[in-house]
Symmetry: C2
Subunit: 238 residues, 2 copies
């Protein structure tokens, strides 16, 4: 069985592979004029294409067919997450969440965060590789690090939004996320850093319409909690 090779081409109408994809096609796979490609735009469409020109640095193609894909899940899966001290842990979370299904990742600068800088280019590369590897047509949108306080007040957030944390601030126990996620609705879940959100941050989120939830009885690392949240959203959206 011949493995299909996907190339990430955010602007397929340019008729030329981006630099790193062109390198990979020509230098690694040694493709040439007449060879077939499958392009993915990361926004839901695959394209069949044929190489028309291959030079040292350029690989041009002609699109023979565009194939819009049916979404694998309904609603929209949005994760807001404080980056971990060790960035590898965010990277694998991005890989796994992309495989399982995630539309949007927001990185949050929180009070107790142990990391204040994130290079989203690396996360982008991980997401692109995972999208191609899992034959998806959508790439998660990854936002630059944003202050928690301004993020929770954004007016483009879904109505169904949750904040997962370890405090018991109300008179009642927090519900389990899996029990309160509505089916097939856009959802957003926030996951705090190693030291959790601050109580002040939780209050701010609640004031901005977020509902406090638990992810179950297990004590989870930040990146594990993030993946569990994505999987629960994915299960509610299948």
């Amino acid at each position: 069985m011949k493995e299909i090779r996907y190339f990430y081409v955010p602007e397929p109408e340019l008729s030329e592979l981006p630099g790193d994809e062109a390198q990979h096609a020509m230098r690694v796979l040694r493709l040439g004029v007449g060879d077939e490609l499958v392009l993915v735009d990361g926004k839901g469409c695959l394209y069949d294409a044929v190489i028309t020109e291959a030079s040292n640095h350029h690989c041009r193609y002609r699109i023979t067919q565009s194939r819009p894909q049916e979404p694998e899940w309904h609603g929209s899966i949005h994760l807001g997450m404080a980056p971990t001290k060790n960035i590898d842990r965010v990277e694998w979370m991005v890989e796994k969440a992309t495989e399982i299904g995630m539309d949007h990742l927001s990185l949050l600068d929180t009070q107790f965060a142990e990391r204040r800088v994130v290079k989203t280019e690396r996360l982008e590369r991980v997401a692109v590789a995972a999208m191609k590897q899992s034959h998806k047509a959508w790439k998660p949108v990854i936002d630059e690090l944003e202050a928690f306080g301004s993020f929770v007040k954004r007016d483009d957030l879904p109505e169904q939004r949750f904040i997962a944390h370890c405090y018991e601030l109300g008179s009642e126990a927090k519900p389990f996320l899996g029990d309160v996620l509505a089916s097939k609705q856009p959802a957003l879940v926030l996951i705090g850093p190693e030291g959790d959100f601050s109580v002040d941050e939780v209050r701010k989120a609640e004031a901005a319409g977020f509902r406090s939830v638990s992810l179950g009885t297990s004590r989870l690392r930040t990146e594990t909690a993030a993946l569990v949240a994505v999987h629960l959203m994915r299960l509610a959206n299948r």
Copy 2:
């Protein structure tokens, strides 16, 4: 807030920390006589203890209280998995599955596996670290690599057992694992290698009472599929 330090002591009645835990207690944490310890036996019990003797290579203690823990989940969560070519991917799966909740990991030698040797000592260390980090009292049992054919015929497997694969062999579509897992019952799910199980292996498993299932519409890597299966079993057992 003082972080509780857990020491893994499979045989607490010996009144002495195992070598690596003793090193850690004395050389890294610089604990001495009179300092308090929390021991975990990996089989469901925590112990409060006090150091009674600390020499170059030995750290002896006296147990002051034994605290049997309530299980976090019902049933029993058993994963059978073909190891991946890159062993790091099995290691992180073990870390994450231990956090989320897993009782038993069996490593399977399958026809299309790209790895025939697994050092379980390393996986043990990852499981112990994750158990301590997530404040669990149970350590997953990790079996040595076993031939698929003999594993599926073992007579100590749970009644509720599944094999996840990508074939469509029957006349009906495979059910989604999350839809057929009975609540609070011991369960076992098998996950194949990068190249999937062979059709012959699937037939053998089915003949041995395994039910074929799907893990949803997403194309998942072996270790992601394994983690998704563990999470689905955990959700059915809470």
